[in-house]
């Protein structure tokens, strides 16, 4: 039986769609309004930006630059996540490892991304090793501390309960540890994805011969604001798509969570 007080499913879906699009529509309207009164090279029309964006999608040689940047972001994040997880497990297991590694990671966190770019250019010859190194060192401390926090926040009661069944290490990992830390891992990915998309552009601006950062540098040199926006939007689209994918994983993986009718 349907609740007469609840709007039908289709109406709710439409409302959610409008709710999701409204902020972007307002932003676009304000920009378009500004473009009518300001010079084109400062605030270009969104129609120009749209066609430039479409051209990047349609032209394989241009779109390859987007894929190269996406590949660098993913390679860096996966690398940082794997190394960070290993360090976090080590730190969670041994207090000595924690005392030794925590200050080093905190020190790393204080180094600006641009400094790492300079170090990478001095230390490495190839473009890809440089960018991979920058992505790893900038994302590593965050991943390590986030996974470590998740491991430490695991319920002692639940760990003890699972331990009482005498599990193997593999069983302990699959039945208790991974499901328990998954929410924090996905949040860490969401946060680091945004950070990585900013860092990769800086890295590509300085050292690369391809990628979104390199293309942005080209647009700056010819003073093409529409092009700069179109290339920026490519990265924004990627981040939005990746965030949506993570949200879909969350919706499926955390369907066990109780939903309160009263929100914060």
């Amino acid at each position: 039986m349907t609740d007469p007080a609840r709007p039908p499913h289709r109406a709710r879906a439409l409302f959610r769609l409008i709710e999701a699009l409204l902020p972007f529509a307002v932003l676009a309207a304000l920009w378009q309004l500004a473009s009518l009164g300001l010079p084109r090279y400062l605030v270009p029309s969104l129609v120009d930006v749209f066609w430039r964006t479409l051209t990047i999608f349609q032209d394989w040689s241009q779109f390859q630059n987007v894929l190269a940047t996406v590949g660098r972001i993913m390679a860096g994040l996966i690398g940082a996540f794997l190394v960070g997880s290993l360090l976090a497990v080590l730190m969670a297991q041994a207090r000595a490892a924690d005392r030794f590694l925590s200050p080093i990671l905190n020190f790393f966190q204080g180094i600006p991304a641009l400094s790492w770019v300079v170090f990478a250019i001095i230390w490495f010859k190839g473009i890809e090793p440089r960018i991979f190194f920058i992505m790893i060192v900038t994302a590593l401390p965050a991943f390590t501390f986030q996974v470590l926090g998740a491991l430490r926040a695991m319920s002692k009661d639940l760990v003890e309960m699972v331990m009482s069944f005498r599990p193997t290490r593999r069983r302990m990992l699959s039945a208790m540890i991974l499901p328990s830390i998954l929410p924090e891992i996905l949040t860490a990915w969401k946060v680091n994805l945004g950070n990585a998309s900013r860092v990769v552009v800086v890295a590509e601006l300085v050292g690369a011969t391809g990628g979104v950062g390199y293309e942005l540098l080209q647009q700056q040199q010819i003073f093409d604001m529409a092009g700069a926006l179109a290339w920026t939007l490519q990265l924004v689209f990627f981040v939005l798509i990746a965030q949506k994918l993570i949200e879909m994983i969350e919706a499926s993986a955390f369907r066990y969570r109780a939903q309160s009718e009263r929100t914060l």
């Binding site: 009661d157 639940l158 003890e160 309960m161 699972v162 331990m163 009482s164 069944f165 005498r166 599990p167 193997t168 069983r171 039945a175 208790m176 499901p179 328990s180 993986a253 955390f254 369907r255 066990y256 969570r257 109780a258």
Partner: protein, 258 residues
């Protein structure tokens, strides 16, 4: 009513002059003696209520049987083995029902009951069938796919009992499993629990601070005084009269009031 030592047979759980002292943790606090020179035998098929006030060392004794802690001096043997040093040997032989249900929130009721069987590498189809059977037996048919947050406190504790029984472990340890439930639900679950233990011929150690609960559970009652020392070890006949129960209650109350 019989009082005194149990008949001679190989004990399932054996404490031999076991003591447990926790080292000082702060500058002002000294070492804390939680268990003091306990000798206790629990035989196969016995249902023993370990009764004592809060802080008398019940949980320390419990942890030593479960292999989660070891005595400072003396020995603890379960099935003739050291439960702390031979921890993994007890896989499938010992199950615990905790004070809170401790269900994994990301698993359905059925998958929670399967947990212990999974640890024994039982094939999925077989463990589904066993878990299903235990949920039905505990009145939870139709709730197999429910996540813990959808179940009431009593239902969740039933799932945790099903999880322990599903493993078919011969030794069951229960740490005040019904203390958080309302009295009516707790009484019903206690009766169901005692029946299942007796039907399955299990050896069960039931920790409680409630005299009524210890009397409801029946079997043998071991009363502890602080630090865990045996003050009374008594067998409650299955058909004990009200007068007998009242007399035992008074004796226990007198000990706990000391």
């Amino acid at each position: 009513m019989t009082v005194g030592p149990a008949p001679a047979a190989a004990p399932e759980i054996h404490f031999d002059r076991a003591s447990k002292t926790f080292p000082a943790t702060g500058e002002d606090s000294g070492a804390f003696r939680a268990v003091d020179d306990i000798t206790l035998d629990i035989r196969q098929g016995e249902l023993v209520a370990l009764l004592g006030k809060t802080g008398c060392g019940k949980s320390t004794l419990f942890n030593m049987i479960a292999g989660l802690g070891e005595p400072t001096t003396g020995t603890v043997r379960v099935k003739g083995r050291d439960p702390f040093r031979e921890f993994d040997w007890f896989c499938g032989k010992l199950a615990i029902v905790f004070q809170s249900d401790r269900l994994l929130p990301w698993r359905t009721a059925l998958r929670n009951v399967e947990l212990g069987l999974e640890m024994r590498n039982m094939p999925a189809r077989e463990r589904h069938a066993i878990a299903q059977r235990w949920l039905e037996r505990l009145g939870l048919a139709g709730h197999e796919r429910d996540y813990p947050h959808k179940l009431s406190g009593g239902m969740r504790q039933r799932v945790s009992i099903a999880r322990a029984f599903a493993t078919d472990a011969s030794i069951l340890l229960c740490d005040e499993p019904f203390s958080a439930l309302d009295e009516i639900t707790a009484k019903r679950l206690r009766e169901e629990f005692a029946t299942l233990v007796r039907e399955g011929g299990k050896t069960a150690v039931f920790i409680t601070h409630s005299i009524s609960e210890a009397l409801d559970i029946g079997g043998r009652i071991v009363v502890l005084r602080r630090p865990a020392q045996i003050a009374l070890d008594i067998k409650l006949p299955a058909q004990a009269s009200r007068a007998e129960r009242d007399e035992i209650r008074q004796r226990i109350e007198a000990i706990l009031a000391e």
